[in-house]
């Protein structure tokens, strides 16, 4: 039917340019290429189904991103991987252990992408609770303002700022630990070489 075709064409024309941004956001959130593809496909499908509720002239990227976050949260809930943002340091360490374990099961494609995109940063992000991770990704990857992030996540602007502060601090600490580990491994390798 032509009616469906026209509607789909209009939807694609508006939303297709957002594909790369949505995929990147999904990938950095899920740390898995296949999961990210599934999430973005589901996002497009969900957005298409409710396209009539989108108000023309409003922020389409914010609308699509909100849907993506909902899709991701639903997906993680099903898998029991959605963590509350109040996770303390011990919980973060536990999450890090889980992330390390899951890294073993990642497919070669994912591992290749991880090597390309700063694996330490990706691993550090995966250790963040959801409540801290989403504001950070929206700010750093999508370059969204505090107000846009607040609108998408449904939280006050002040909360966005405080969560960004906490998130960055944790990521920086995690990255620093990674650097220390690399240095330690290098020293061990160097010592081992000296033994021969």
């Amino acid at each position: 039917m032509k009616l469906f075709h026209n509607r789909r064409q209009e939807f694609e024309k508006l939303t297709w340019p957002l594909g790369p941004d949505l995929f990147r956001m999904a990938y950095w959130r899920l740390a898995n290429s296949q999961d990210a593809e599934d999430a973005v496909q589901d996002t497009y499908l969900r957005a298409y189904r409710s396209f009539n509720t989108f108000q023309a002239g409003t922020n389409l990227k914010a609308w699509m991103t909100r849907i993506l976050i909902n899709v991701i949260n639903d997906s993680l809930k099903k898998r029991g991987r959605l963590q509350d943002f109040r996770a303390d340091e011990d919980e973060i360490d536990e999450l890090a252990a889980i992330a390390d374990q899951s890294a073993v099961a990642r497919n070669p494609e994912t591992q290749l992408i991880e090597q390309e995109i700063h694996p330490d940063l990706l691993a550090s992000l995966q250790r963040l609770p959801t409540g801290l991770l989403h504001p950070l990704l929206l700010r750093e990857l999508e370059d969204m303002s505090y107000a846009e992030i607040a609108s998408i996540l449904g939280i006050p602007t002040g909360t966005v700022m405080s969560r960004l502060f906490r998130a960055r601090r944790i990521v920086r600490e995690q990255l620093a630990k990674s650097v220390e580990r690399v240095k330690g491994n290098t020293n061990i390798a160097g010592n081992a070489h000296e033994l021969y």
Binding site: E37, L45, I117, E140
Partner: protein
């Protein structure tokens, strides 16, 4: 500004969320404070890492085609669900429309083509029963007017020795007009009565099966209460004679009619 004031603002500085005055004050502080400068360097390094991350990973080749295909499939499913919901109602509507069409146009047209209009057939028993009922006859004595009202030529029924007492249109549920003529015959033993219904052939029906051939006419005789009746078709008309007289006398009347 001192370090305690500056540290929480470094993030905002990195986000470009500070005004010119605060920005200048913090930058001044950084020049003279190595700890805060180190903190600021870490923040900038993190920003730089994210800047690099913005370009990766790239969208897999053909991914949007996959999305497009899925949307097309969604459209097909929506159409399918729409049709599935619509289909059960289609036969009902179609049947109703067909019945309406047949009832209003086709059936009457077919009947008319056959020279018969029998949407509601008249039962001989009902006609006999209504014979004595009040208000079942619309009296019209003038033959021309009666012919005009019933819509077909009234066939003259010749009954020697009988005098027509009343004539008119039987008020039936059928839209086909049935003419009725009441006759009377005066005898020494008293008045005899005979009523004759006349309608287009095929309108008046009876379940009586004992048809008798009388003077070339196939006549069905029947009894309803105290009345005897005879029904036959002749020259495109149905004739129903009703009387309280015995069947034998009715046979004689019909034979001579």
């Amino acid at each position: 500004m001192n370090c305690i004031e500056v540290r929480p603002l470094l993030d905002l500085l990195g986000d470009g969320a500070l005004d010119t005055k605060d920005t200048a004050l913090i930058l001044d502080h950084l020049k003279s404070c190595s700890d805060c400068q180190a903190e600021w360097n870490d923040i900038e390094q993190l920003h730089a890492s994210f800047q690099q991350a913005r370009s990766k990973p790239e969208l897999p080749a053909g991914f949007m085609d996959k999305v497009s295909a899925r949307l097309k499939e969604e459209d097909r499913n929506v159409q399918k669900r729409f049709l599935q919901r619509a289909v059960p109602t289609v036969p009902v509507l179609a049947i109703a429309a067909t019945l309406l069409l047949v009832g209003c146009f086709v059936w009457p047209a077919v009947e008319k083509q056959n020279g018969q209009v029998s949407t509601t057939l008249a039962s001989a028993d009902r006609l006999v029963e209504d014979l004595g009922a009040a208000g079942t006859l619309d009296m019209i004595s003038d033959r021309n007017e009666l012919t005009k009202k019933v819509g077909y030529d009234i066939k003259q029924v010749r009954l020697p020795e009988w005098r027509m007492e009343n004539s008119g249109i039987y008020k039936s549920q059928s839209h086909v007009s049935i003419a009725r003529f009441d006759f009377i015959k005066k005898t020494q033993s008293g008045d005899q009565h005979l009523s004759c219904y006349q309608a287009p052939a095929g309108v008046i029906r009876t379940t009586a099966a004992n048809a008798i051939n009388l003077a070339g006419k196939q006549v069905q005789f029947g009894t309803h209460g105290k009345f005897q009746f005879a029904l036959w078709s002749q020259n495109g008309r149905d004739y129903l004679f009703v009387t309280e007289l015995p069947k034998e006398q009715l046979q004689e009347i019909v034979r001579g009619a």
